[in-house]
């Protein structure tokens, strides 16, 4: 069984192939990237039966790596990481297809697709390992290609946005590194599950610092208020396929890391202390803050991509709120998956496809109209019907309207919240506020749709506006299917996530 190793090797070996193909024809290079990601999706799917049916519901491949640190190259998936890895691969396929027409005529496309391949290595790698060090390798591997993609092919002053992105997330990453170093020091383990058990016997006074350092580092990547400042610039100045990956996957990786490392590995050691309760309460407060901050700015922002970027901050607020519902007192290290955790992970999946679709649609509009201020748009529904439909589906999903994808996951989070309220009265107020925040998300979604697609055209450009070319259509169509199917039949992912017995 080498499925997961191949998931690592395919993009690695693909890097030179993509570069050489791209030198001749960028279009072929994009197809190669998409095929690699498609193959990865297939490989990940082959592990599904083992995860569903084996007794401990995990799939593990250990290989030798750095023996001096007793660190193994452990490739691992369980229900949560597998769901996220699959959806990440799908988004990479979509981003590569979308790039074909979107990036046409830009310079150095061979390098662009090479960087995209490197990026896909980090993006998927982050989810499929249980070795903390390898996790950190992939975590940083996301950063460098993303920096060059934003800087090299972005809008306005792209390197400024890319610089901000790099500095913020790298500063976060060094706090993660401190936490990882401290975990290694106390436990001598670089495996998440070994570390979790060993940390149980470490003094909670020390563990709390590890927990705070790790969570602060991950929160930067997740763009939680008040460390969100990099996100609006990076997401709006990046080329749209990259924005879709940034909003869909990279910030989700932050949330996944909080779930897996902060809450799963470190938190059990301080679960039963007063600090543990304060910690989850703190997460809830920051979640509410992010949700409100993001939604309110999205309501007044006029730049088409910045609206979506702020909506991502709001949605990471929901996710953080969902994470704060992590069972906080179940006794020594046993973690049971609750409706809230299922909902949170499912929200990462549904948000990834919905936000990916919304960014691609926004990119399509910018590509066809060359306008990015929504006050100058209007009446595009008649001219770009396909984009109008896909935008509407995406925006309604983001607003949490049934039967689209995000509804079911938000619903599960709230179900989980009500379960928790019965035990911990603190969560009453945050839950109420979160419900208000969903109304705000509907408000900004509708404002966005009405400004862009309804009414009369504001400016008459010389260029006749037509709907998007075929590859962009195909890419968006894939995500439309995902948004609708996940909305009415989320069973596949819910079953997968619910198999998780321990974190």
């Amino acid at each position: 069984m080498v499925a997961l190793l191949l998931v690592f090797l395919l993009p690695t070996l693909g890097i030179p192939i993509v570069y050489l193909t791209g030198k001749k024809s960028p279009r072929a290079a994009a197809i190669v990237v998409a095929l690699i990601a498609l193959a990865n999706t297939g490989l990940l799917l082959t592990t599904v039966p083992e995860v569903l049916n084996s007794s401990d519901h995990v799939y593990v491949e250990p290989y030798a790596w750095i023996s001096i640190l007793e660190s193994e190259f452990t490739l691992f998936v369980d229900g949560i990481s597998l769901s996220l890895a699959i959806i990440t691969s799908v988004l990479i396929v979509v981003a590569a297809l979308f790039s074909i027409d979107y990036m046409e005529g830009k310079k150095n496309l061979a390098v662009y697709y090479t960087l995209l391949t490197m990026l896909s290595l980090g993006l998927v790698g982050v989810f499929i390992t249980s070795n903390i060090l390898l996790f950190y390798f992939c975590w940083e591997l996301m950063l460098v290609p993303a920096y060059f993609i934003i800087g090299g092919w972005g809008y306005r002053s792209p390197f400024r946005a890319a610089f901000k992105f790099f500095i913020f997330t790298h500063a976060g990453a060094v706090f993660v590194l401190l936490g990882i170093g401290a975990i290694y020091m106390f436990t001598g383990a670089t495996d998440m599950f070994l570390a979790q058990q060993s940390l149980m016997s470490v003094s909670p006074d020390l563990v709390r610092w590890i927990l705070l350092s790790l969570t602060a580092g991950f929160a930067v990547k997740m763009a939680v208020v008040p460390v969100h400042m990099w996100l609006p610039d990076a997401h709006s100045e990046a080329p749209s396929p990259m924005s879709a990956l940034l909003s869909g996957v990279i910030i989700s990786a932050g949330a996944y890391a909080i779930l897996r490392l902060s809450l799963g590995t470190v938190f059990p050691a301080v679960m039963d202390t007063a600090f543990g309760t304060d910690f989850v309460h703190g997460l809830a407060i920051f979640g509410v803050l992010s949700a409100f901050f993001g939604s309110l700015i999205a309501l007044v922002e006029t730049d088409i991509k910045r609206i979506i970027a702020y909506s991502s901050i709001a949605h990471m607020g929901y996710v953080l709120f969902g994470l704060s519902l992590f069972p906080s007192s179940l006794g020594a290290g046993v973690v049971v998956i609750t409706a809230a955790i299922t909902g949170t992970v499912l929200h990462l999946v549904t948000h990834a496809v919905s936000k990916g679709l919304l960014f691609l649609s926004a990119g399509a509009i910018m590509h066809q109209t060359e306008v990015r201020d929504i006050r100058e748009m209007g009446g595009l529904a008649g001219k770009m019907p396909f984009t109008a439909v896909s935008s509407t589906i995406a925006a309604l999903s983001i607003a949490g309207t049934p039967p689209f994808a995000c509804f079911i996951s938000e619903f599960l989070i709230f179900v989980g919240a009500f379960e928790v309220i019965s035990g911990d009265g603190f969560f009453l107020l945050p839950t109420a506020l979160m419900l208000i925040a969903t109304v705000l998300s509907l408000a900004y979604s509708l404002r966005y749709l009405s400004h862009v697609f309804l009414g009369k055209p504001k400016t008459e450009g010389e260029k006749k506006i037509v709907d998007v070319p075929i590859y962009m259509k195909a890419a968006m169509a894939i995500l439309v299917v995902f948004v609708i199917v996940l909305g009415i039949w989320p069973t596949f992912f819910i079953d997968l996530i619910n198999t998780v017995q321990f974190l």
Binding site: I68, F137, I167, H170, V174, L177, L178
Partner: protein
């Protein structure tokens, strides 16, 4: 059995080749394939000395139980413990392998960089060979005097590499360097004389044993401070660092690469050897704390000075200073992990600085020196730029490049030794490092070139550069290759308290 011949063979072979280089080049210059023949000549030199080192490593590791501190003396008298001689252990074998490998790559670069058809260049190459030999003598040294002689030969001899251009700036900075080296050696000699007076020997073993049982340790403290500050000057630890950026920035890039990858790491090796293995007086002096403060200062000062540099070469020279600070973090922890980190850092830090000096050297040939000049370099010289970006990211500690694993090991060691504050300082200065290195990357890729000059990158000189790039990526992602050499060293650490 390791014979005296096994030990001196690498040194002697390198010196022989160095001496022969001058007449051989006279012949080579007259033929048509000058560069190819020069490369073949140096390949032979390094193959022979590499074989000698490999032979030594095999001999050493085929011993029944590879003893730490295997003394190899010149004569077999009963008093040989007290005489001068060589000593082999895992660290010296590792350092010797590293020196031969890195020196060979830098010499190939120098052959292309310093025009090998011009007259005094053969002396330049010969000096590089001799310096490598001297460094090897220093790592094989078995007593403080042998160490002193070989090391000072390497340190003072490297001024010839700095002064190769013979312009006023390099004369000035070389003079500064030589004065510092002489002051440093005066300190060291004074300290050594006190040690000799206290113990009646300079042999590593004998000195260590004698110091352990010494009753009155007041003089020892003085000797320790003198020797430590002497070696601190040579390793450019803050506040004794100010000669280094001048010296490196004024010397030709191939020299700067050699100095940073070999002499700098060698000076640091000597510091570790003397402080940790021989003088360890933990109960007398809180020296780890003192060194920790120096490490923190070195990291902060090195990075802050790099931040304000306009000249790219000076910027990298200041990173060399900061690197010494990161390396010091490993030694202050006095743990097995810290030592592993140090030894790995010698290699990765060395080749990263060498790589960046080499890349900057190629760019400076076309007149690109300041950050302004580097605007749009990514378009003009794509391959050189990629190499420089890889080096910058490795400095900044971005995985999977080698610099990350090096920093990870030393910081973890610091946390393990209960000096988390030092790790925090290290991590925060790393962020600073990312900031100014990204500024450099920003200049190279975000700005438009100032002129439309089209540059055809020289292909041959890129070969050694990209060998180092590959080494940084491969050894960074799979450091086990290096750790296989370090493992036995760490297992024979009975001397670390």
């Amino acid at each position: 059995m390791v014979d005296i011949l096994d030990v001196v063979l690498p040194i002697i072979s390198l010196v022989t080749f160095a001496v022969l280089t001058i007449p051989v080049f006279r012949v080579i210059r007259k033929t048509q394939h000058r560069t190819a023949l020069a490369l073949a000549w140096f390949a032979t030199a390094f193959l022979v000395s590499g074989a000698a080192v490999a032979n030594l490593a095999l001999q050493y590791y085929s011993l029944e139980s590879p003893l730490p501190f295997l003394s190899v003396t010149l004569s077999d008298t009963p008093l040989s413990e007290f005489s001068s001689g060589f000593m082999i252990d895992g660290i010296s074998v590792y350092m010797a392998i590293m020196f031969v490998a890195v020196s060979a790559i830098i010499l190939v670069y120098s052959v292309f960089y310093v025009d090998s058809s011009k007259r005094p260049s053969e002396r330049y190459f010969a000096i590089m060979l001799v310096l490598t030999a001297a460094l090897m003598g220093a790592v094989f040294a078995g007593d403080l005097l042998t160490l002193f002689i070989f090391w000072e030969a390497a340190a003072a001899g490297s001024s010839f590499l700095m002064i190769y251009k013979k312009d006023p700036v390099s004369l000035n900075s070389t003079l500064k360097y030589l004065v510092m080296i002489i002051i440093a050696s005066a300190f060291i000699v004074f300290g050594l004389s006190i040690v000799y007076g206290l113990t009646g020997s300079l042999n590593f073993w004998a000195v260590r044993e004698a110091l352990m049982t010494l009753a009155d340790k007041q003089l020892l403290v003085i000797a320790f401070i003198l020797i430590a500050s002497g070696y601190a000057i040579e390793a450019a630890i803050v506040p004794f660092h100010f000669w280094l950026p001048d010296a490196y920035a004024a010397s030709p890039s191939s020299s700067a690469a050699f100095l940073s990858a070999l002499i700098d790491q060698g000076s640091y090796y000597v510091l570790i050897r003397v402080l940790i293995f021989i003088l360890t007086p933990p109960d007398v002096l809180n020296w780890t704390f003192m060194l920790a403060v120096m490490a923190a200062l070195t990291m902060i000062v090195g990075n802050l000075f790099a931040l304000i540099q306009d000249n790219v070469k000076r910027l990298i020279a200041n990173i060399c200073v900061a690197d010494v600070g990161y390396n010091l973090v490993g030694i202050t922890s006095v743990t097995a992990l810290g030592l592993t980190g140090n030894l790995y850092f010698f290699l990765m830090g060395g080749i990263t600085t060498a790589l960046s000096f080499m890349a900057v050297g190629v760019a400076s040939r076309y007149g690109f020196r300041t950050l302004e000049d580097f605007s749009g370099l990514g378009k003009k010289m794509p391959l050189v730029s990629i190499a420089l970006v890889i080096a910058a990211l490795s400095f900044a500690g971005v995985p999977p490049l080698g610099g990350f694993m090096a920093k990870y090991l030393v910081f973890t060691a610091a946390i393990q030794a209960n000096m988390s504050w030092l790790a925090v300082v290290g991590v925060l200065t790393s962020v600073l490092q990312v900031a100014y290195l990204l500024r450099l990357v920003n200049y190279m890729y975000a700005r438009d070139p100032k002129d439309e000059i089209v540059i055809k990158e020289p292909k041959r000189i890129l070969v050694p550069i990209f060998i180092l790039v590959a080494a940084i990526i491969i050894l960074g992602f799979y450091p086990q290759i290096v750790f296989n050499f370090i493992d036995p060293v760490v297992n024979q650490l009975p001397l670390i308290p």
